[in-house]
Structure formats: C-alpha cells, structure tokens
C-alpha cells in the first residue's frame, strides 16, 4: 500500500465522515478485505489508514465494527448519490489507459472508416479489439480481454479480434472496400468474418492433429466457395512449432494443397502461411 501515516483506531463516525471528507477533497478511497493489501494494517486491527503521498484512504472492511459498517454503508450510499463512481481496483488502470489511447487517436482512421460500413456489433468488436491490441503492444496480458470479447460478441466477435490482430481490417478489408463493389466487399467480408473461410488462426489449444482437422475444414470451405487459397496464422512459440510440424507432415500432391510460407518472425514468434488449394472446381 505504500508509505502510510500512522494508522489510528477511530470511531465509526470518523471512518464514515473521513470517506465523505476525502471524496469532497477529490481524494481516492480504496476498500480492502483483511486478507488483501496491507496485512499489517489488517492484523493491527485498524479500520483505516491514510497515505499522504498518494492521497489514498484505505478502509479495511474486515476490521469495521457492526456500527462502523452501518455508518460506512451510509457514507457509500451518499457517495453514490453524489455521483461518485465505484470501480474495481484491479481494473482502474484500464480507464486511464483508455483515456490516453483515445486522446492519441491511434486507430481513429480505421474506426472512422469502418463505423459507416459495419453492423454495430461487428464495429464494437473491432473497436474493442483495436484497443486490446494497443494494450498488448504495451506488454499487457490480453487473455482475459479476448475472453471478454468472445463472451460479449460471440465466435464472430472472437474471429473479428483475430482478423484485427493480423491487420486484415486495414490491409485487406479497407482496400477491398475502396477497390470493389459493395456487393463484392460484403461477400468477401462475410466469408472472412462469418464463415471463417479466409483465415485459420491457430491457438494454444490446438495440437498438430487438431490443426490438420481444422485445415481439412478450411479445405471443404474453399471448395464450397471456390476459393483458391486461405491463410494460416500463428502467434507464440507453441503455435508456431505446431504449424511447422503440421506443414512438414503434409504431402502436397496427395493432400491437394500446398502451404507457402509468407512470413515468419523468430523473435516475435509469428508465422503466416498461404495455403494454395488444388482441384478446386466443385460448385456449391
């Protein structure tokens, strides 16, 4: 919790009043349980402590007496009525980071372009994914954010997220929209986003055999939609290794397709293959 002033045991009114007073002075308050944060504060039986360096008042809810709890509850309701935002401490940094990201206009051009041509859910999945990629570049773990996109926007949103991370929106969809008819654009976009026929994204849950199965499904889609090629993307050491093992295992003339490596970065552990499909003349 940092350097704190000497904790004081205080009366219930003081805890509650202290909360209101701190909020009035635009200072922050954090409520913790005894099992977290400053264990000395909790073990010492203290109800609160004020850090004069960070201007943060820490309230240890476990150490509040029953009457103190009632008073603090009242002060929290008052704070809510005064329009103060209550927020999870572990996610508070993301608010300030998003403010900075928005101010930077990092992806403003892409967002302006796609806002007018995508359905709201697709646009919001893209918008969220772009911010997630920005956080990834800052070194943040994005696994839970990816799960959040999948939960909110479904498999379609998860696929948008993958396509976004591989730069499809700015490098493929944007020029396609500018260079072809709207009908052609939306047909291709739906093949990529809805049907997942344009790109296979290998994840850490995929073994080499699973990749083989997924590639088989991609080949069926390629035949169904008369596509001559599709991409395989992998990020991370395990995924890159599994993709390379899969590629080594195939027999081009027998399997009816040939993978051509487009890109590999050993340092970043990123790989991309273009899979060229043969004998692709079946109609739908």
């Amino acid at each position: 919790m940092g350097t704190t002033s000497k904790p004081e045991k205080i009366q219930s009114k003081s805890v509650a009043d202290s909360i209101i007073e701190h909020l009035d002075k635009k200072k922050s308050i954090i409520l913790i349980d005894g099992s977290e944060g400053d264990s000395d504060l909790a073990r010492g039986g203290y109800s609160y402590s004020f850090d004069d360096k960070t201007n943060i008042l820490t309230v240890v809810v476990e150490n509040l007496s029953p009457s103190e709890k009632i008073s603090v509850h009242k002060s929290l309701v008052k704070a809510h009525n005064d329009e103060h935002l209550f927020w999870k401490a572990s996610k508070s940094e993301l608010i300030s980071k998003y403010k900075a990201y928005s101010s930077s206009n990092e992806n403003a051009q892409i967002l302006i372009f796609f806002k007018k041509i995508l359905k709201p859910d697709d646009y919001n999945a893209l918008k969220t994914s772009l911010y997630m990629e920005s956080l990834a570049k800052q070194g943040m773990s994005i696994h839970s954010f990816k799960m959040g996109i999948r939960e909110r926007f479904g498999l379609r949103g998860a696929n948008i997220s993958n396509l976004c991370s591989a730069n499809y929106f700015e490098e493929v969809f944007m020029p396609l929209y500018n260079d072809t008819s709207q009908e052609e654009f939306y047909k291709y976009y739906e093949l990529a986003v809805g049907e997942k026929a344009i790109a296979l994204f290998v994840n850490s849950g995929m073994t080499v055999n699973k990749i083989k199965t997924e590639v088989g499904l991609m080949l069926e889609k390629a035949k169904k939609y008369r596509l001559k090629e599709f991409k395989i993307h992998g990020k991370g050491k395990i995924n890159v290794n599994n993709i390379n093992k899969f590629v080594k295992s195939i027999v081009p003339n027998k399997d009816g397709f040939i993978p051509v490596k487009l890109y590999e970065d050993d340092k970043l552990k990123v790989i991309e293959y273009n899979v060229v499909v043969f004998n692709n003349t079946e109609s739908e």
């Binding site: 922050s28 308050i29 954090i30 209550f86 927020w87 999870k88 401490a89 608010i95 969220t128 939960e151």
Partner: protein
C-alpha cells in the same frame, strides 16, 4: 463527478459494497436481496461477481469489467 473512479474496491471487499446497496452474491451472480432477482448490466446481461466492474449513478448502473464496458464507461456511454 465524471468517470474517474474515486472509490476503488478489491474483489474480496465486493460483498461489503454490494451490501450497502441491498445486493449480494448468489451462485456467483449479483442479485437483488429484496426480490432475489439477478442484477442486469445496461446491456441486459446477468453479472458474475468476478466480472463486476463497478457501480455508477443513474439510479444504479451495474457495469461489467470487460474492455467494451470500460471503453463505453470512459466515453460516457453509461451517462444518463
């Protein structure tokens, strides 16, 4: 007061916060004590306690903690 959080809470202290607003956690979901009904986000979703982001004025707006919700909150999308 805007969308800059001044009252932060840890996951373990969440039940205490919820109690102040007549809510609690049942089977991992945030519920209304009086009715036993699950509390919904502005998007109409039930809210798992572990995925609760925060509470905003506007009667009571319970917000999830995923990136989309955080972005919407920051942009004032939950303002009335």
């Amino acid at each position: 007061m805007g969308n800059t959080p001044k009252i932060l809470f840890t996951e373990a202290s969440l039940p205490f916060i919820l109690e102040a607003f007549g809510k609690s956690i049942e089977d991992g979901l945030i519920i209304e004590n009086k009715t036993g009904e699950t509390v919904l986000s502005p998007e109409g979703e039930e809210i798992e306690a572990s995925k609760f982001g925060g509470l905003k004025k506007g009667s009571e707006i319970f917000i999830k903690d995923d990136l989309y919700s955080i972005m919407k909150l920051t942009e004032g999308g939950y303002d009335e």
